[in-house]
């Protein structure tokens, strides 16, 4: 199946493509990012530095990248999918061996203007490669065990590399994103039931292995689990993040304290206020109204993506859009759930809002893929 369907009218070419861009989606992305700039300005105590200005610059670069990717035919991206996956895999191996030690984890490659996080790239690459795989595979075969093992390997190899960086949060996100593409491709529910059982078993094993010689996680990861399960264990120690985040969120109330009036984050009670915990500042300053607005914008982005996916007759494009949308969903859902104390603290940023060049660039690039799939979707009557 290809977009070169003779019965369909041709996809737009040249400058006409601009008209076929999914503009509401672009507007939403800009709006959410704008929200992010405001927050970064606020947590810096009313200053464009050190966060808001660099973030805006990167956002500009990212938007440009997004449009370049968007205007490039989806067929091109399909053709370089395997290459992208392979490249991401090599980068992952590279950081494992030579990456910068940052916060006890080897996650970054310093490209000079940006710290590239290969695991970010891999999240998208996994979605791409699985979309390609299921585009290639005949739909009748997707649930056959032999054809299930291949995508599992494609998912678990990079997951393992990320897990051993160690970056538990991203590893989980890669598994989830890959799983979503498999789900969209129509893999039997039984596999997912089995996977969920296996995960439950693994969690049990992880918890049981603690303190033994074959302990599966780092101590800091265990502590995060502990504090998640019982935040009162040590209110000024390990669970400090969760407690302070809840205080910031709750103290915002319905209408919030007002822009620049948040106290929790600016006074340093919150950790990583410009990255993973930025949602708390937003909640404190703009209240329930602000958080709901952000959530609604995220949901609209999801809705536009899913609508675009299910209306796209190109199986690769549809799976790609669905997978990217799911990745995006996992980003904000896990971040918000973490900040609100619903899941353990894993290092997942709030997409488009948190400070961080790598994640933003990759995400905007991914949205470029979504736009490309949208612009170059097969047209015409069936």
């Amino acid at each position: 199946m290809s977009f070169m369907d003779p019965n369909a009218s041709l996809p737009p070419t040249g400058l006409k493509k601009i008209l076929y861009v999914n503009w509401p989606l672009v507007m939403l992305i800009i709006a959410v990012s704008g929200f992010g700039f405001l927050m970064l300005y606020s947590v810096a105590g009313g200053s464009f530095y050190p966060w808001a200005r660099p973030q805006m610059e990167r956002f500009l670069i990212g938007i440009i990248i997004m449009f370049i990717v968007a205007f490039t035919p989806i067929s091109f991206w399909r053709s370089v999918t395997a290459l992208a996956y392979g490249f991401a895999l090599i980068l992952l191996v590279y950081v494992l061996i030579a990456g910068d030690v940052s916060k006890g984890a080897q996650r970054w490659i310093d490209l000079g203007f940006i710290n590239l996080q290969p695991s970010e790239v891999m999240k998208i690459a996994v979605v791409m490669v699985l979309a390609l795989y299921y585009d290639w595979l005949e739909p009748e075969k997707v649930s056959r065990p032999i054809w299930v093992i291949i995508p599992l390997v494609l998912i678990l190899v990079p997951t393992g590399l990320v897990f051993f960086q160690p970056d538990l949060g991203t590893a989980i996100l890669i598994v989830l994103s890959g799983g979503v593409v498999m789900f969209l491709a129509g893999v039997s529910f039984w596999y997912f039931s089995a996977a969920i059982s296996v995960v439950a078993g693994t969690v049990l094993a992880v918890l049981q292995s603690r303190g033994t010689e074959w302990q599966l996680l780092n101590n800091y990861q265990y502590r995060r689990i502990d504090t998640f399960l019982d935040p009162t264990l040590d209110p000024l120690g390990a669970s400090y993040h969760i407690t302070q985040a809840s205080i910031a969120l709750g103290s915002g109330g319905i209408s919030g304290r007002g822009f620049m009036q948040g106290t929790q984050s600016r006074l340093g009670f919150l950790p990583e206020k410009q990255t993973d915990f930025i949602f708390t500042t937003l909640a404190e300053e703009f209240g329930y109204v602000g958080t709901t607005l952000l959530l609604v914008m995220y949901v609209l982005i999801l809705v536009f993506c899913i609508l675009s996916a299910i209306n796209n007759r190109n199986r690769y494009a549809a799976l790609l859009i669905g997978g990217i949308a799911a990745t995006f969903f996992f980003f904000f859902a896990v971040n918000m759930a973490m900040v609100m104390g619903l899941v353990p603290v894993v290092g997942v940023p709030l997409p488009l809002v948190s400070y961080g060049g790598s994640a933003m660039l990759v995400l905007l690039g991914a949205f470029g893929l979504v736009q490309s799939a949208h612009i170059h979707r097969p047209r015409g009557n069936l």
């Binding site: 969209l184 205080i247 329930y288 959530l295 007759r313 669905g322």
Partner: protein, 647 residues
């Protein structure tokens, strides 16, 4: 694959279905997030907002200035002196070591102290202000202030410290303050936070501790916004401290000074109170010490010297010293006998110099005896036998009851610590406390203010004031609090007939103003100021029969602490009493020789409120007095007395 097949449609459909399912699941998760958001931000918002405020807002205390203490004329007794100090903020200094070294070039600041400050500083956060030097003199402080621009991080500051400008003279009354100790805090039921303020001063003894709450004031607060490291970002609101109340005492510092001066190096106490109001004019205990030494902690050498001094400078003898009142107690016994109608003014007792009860013999102080004695003469010459005899008739219960009416045996209500109640024994008391029955000999001893009977100088002064006025005068130490006079209640009559009082007062007048009176030598010659009084000499040791037979050893031949206590009580002017006085000289020998002269001089000072004219003294001692005056401190000048020359 030109024409879309059935299977192609099928593929598309299935992605649609799975896509919608996925969207549904995602929306459900978003729903959960929304619910949680609502729960945190709407339902529980109030409690979280409170927690945020607690996080953010620190309350800093603004210490109140301690109330000042003045004498009755407004002269300062306890004041707050500026404490010039230097503090340093590490982060502003950048190189604190170098800054301190620079500071040492300007003021005396030895290297070991620098090291000490640095050590303390590096234990604290960089933005915390650390005291470097305290109690600088003005010249040093000015030098540092002038050079402050060249000393980054150095902050010259002025704090307040307690200071006692009349050292020694008010030590026992006012006491002193010191840093708040763990013991101070544990003694309080509900210690207020300001007590934990660094450098805060707390009353340790005397008035300073007893009216601590009044003097302390109320701390102000400054609500400041802090960040998670505790650094102050800005002040949100401020309520100023309420300073402690200023206290005006009834004591006259000139008289107090003089009393201290007059007692000199002896271990003694003198109390002067206003006969009509009960205002205490002087409350002096000797020897004393400099309370300023205690403010920042006294050296162990000084402390041990005070502690081991047999003259007990640390004790306030005026209120905590319980002495046998000796003959000064005789007025009470006489009044008890008169009230019971057991004697009258004419009643005579023969004094052969001793008094036999059963097989025990009690001696009069005058070995040869006084001969026939009536009440008035018995007071004048302080005949013991007269009181031995009448006490037998009255019994101890009536004597004690009368003593209580004069304020003896009860703790006077004064805002001072460690006030003794003295002791006015009863039969019941002895049975309970000594576990022996009351004996006749006990009554006889009590009749001359010996045995179980004991009283403090302040009690004797109260007794004398009540004798002079006939009313139940209550002593008062604090005249005004923050300018508001403390209530002064009219003292009730004691309910003793004037005739009885007149008899006793006449006897007291004759003590001081007739030849052969025990205090005649120390009379006030000026008739309008004439003093009535009573001497007392109380034994502190048992005189054995053998010693009595061989001749009682003279006081001068005894070790100091075996000598008799010398006492004197009196009031003046006789016709129109204004002041009552009591003087106790520990182991001073005889009341007439050791206590009466001191009492006379202090009384004159009280009456004239300045140096009395020489005509107020008896002619025969005027030359001596003139000579003595060469060394006397001029009135109204605090003159600390060197006490190190005492043997």
């Amino acid at each position: 694959m030109i024409i879309p097949s059935k299977s192609a449609k099928e593929k598309n459909r299935r992605i649609t279905r799975r896509g919608l399912m996925l969207g549904g699941i995602q929306l459900a998760v978003v729903g959960v997030l929304g619910v949680r958001m609502r729960q945190l931000q709407v339902t529980q918002s109030d409690s979280y907002r409170l927690l945020a405020e607690e996080n953010r807002i620190n309350v800093q205390l603004i210490p109140p200035d301690r109330g000042l203490i003045f004498d009755r004329l407004g002269k300062p007794i306890a004041e707050n002196k500026p404490n010039y100090q230097i503090a340093l903020i590490r982060e502003q200094a950048q190189d604190p070591e170098n800054v301190l070294a620079e500071l040492a070039k300007i003021i005396d600041f030895p290297e070991e102290k620098q090291a000490e400050v640095l050590k303390r500083m590096f234990r604290l956060s960089a933005f915390v202000k650390v005291p470097v030097v305290e109690n600088l003199d003005w010249a040093d402080f000015a030098r540092v202030s002038a050079n402050a621009p060249a000393l980054p991080g150095i902050i010259p500051e002025v704090g307040l410290n307690r200071h006692y400008p009349q050292p020694e003279n008010f030590t026992h009354v006012v006491g002193y303050v010191g840093p708040v100790s763990e013991r101070d805090l544990s003694g309080l039921e509900n210690p207020i936070p300001i007590l934990q303020f660094p450098g805060f001063q707390f009353g340790k003894t005397g008035l300073e501790i007893r009216i601590e709450d009044t003097l302390r004031g109320t701390a102000g607060t400054s609500r400041v916004e802090v960040n998670s490291a505790g650094r102050v970002i800005r002040e949100l609101s401020r309520s100023e401290a309420t300073n402690g109340a200023d206290i005006q005492l009834s004591i006259d510092s000139d008289l107090q000074n003089y009393a201290n001066y007059r007692m000199g190096n002896q271990s003694a106490a003198a109390v002067v109170i206003n006969v009509n109001s009960g205002n205490i004019r002087a409350l002096a205990s000797s020897p004393s010490f400099d309370p300023n030494k205690f403010i920042f902690g006294i050296s162990s050498i000084d402390w041990n010297a005070l502690l081991n001094d047999e003259y007990r400078p640390l004790a306030d003898k005026t209120i905590s010293g319980a002495y046998p009142p000796g003959s000064t107690f005789k007025m009470v016994v006489a009044l008890a006998a008169l009230e019971e109608g057991l004697i009258d003014s004419e009643e005579e007792v023969f004094c052969p110099g001793y008094y036999d009860v059963g097989n025990r013999r009690f001696h009069c102080w005058k070995r040869g005896g006084h001969g026939r004695m009536n009440l008035s003469n018995s007071l004048k010459q302080s005949c013991d036998v007269f009181y031995y005899e009448i006490s037998q008739r009255i019994g101890i219960e009536k004597i004690s009851a009368m003593a209580r009416r004069f304020g003896l045996g009860a703790r006077p209500d004064l805002p001072l610590p460690a006030i003794t109640a003295g002791l006015m024994p009863t039969k019941q008391w002895k049975q309970t406390n000594v576990n022996e029955p009351w004996r006749l000999g006990d009554t006889i001893n009590s009749a001359i203010g010996q045995g179980f009977v004991s009283s403090s100088p302040i009690q004797l002064a109260i007794m004398t004031a009540r004798l002079a006025s006939g009313r139940a005068i209550v002593p008062r130490l604090i005249q005004r609090i923050n300018g508001v006079p403390t209530p002064l209640e009219k003292a009730e009559s004691l309910g003793i007939p004037d005739a009885d009082f007149d008899l006793v007062r006449e006897g007291m007048f004759r003590v001081s103003n007739e030849t052969r009176g025990t205090a005649y030598a120390t009379r006030i010659a000026e008739e309008t100021m004439a003093m009535a009084g009573k001497t007392g000499t109380s034994q502190v040791r048992q005189i054995s029969v053998e010693e009595r037979a061989a001749g009682v050893i003279k006081n001068e031949d005894l070790p100091w602490d075996h000598r008799d206590h010398a006492l004197f009580v009196g009031y003046a002017p006789y016709d129109n009493p204004r002041f009552a006085i009591s003087v106790v000289v520990e182991h001073g020998g005889s009341g007439s020789a050791a206590a009466a002269p001191i009492a006379r001089d202090i009384m004159l000072r009280a009456l004239y409120e300045t140096q009395p004219p020489i005509s107020a003294f008896p002619r025969e001692i005027r030359d001596d007095m003139l000579e003595q005056r060469q060394n006397e401190p001029p009135p109204n000048v605090a003159a600390p007395i060197a006490r190190s020359d005492r043997a």
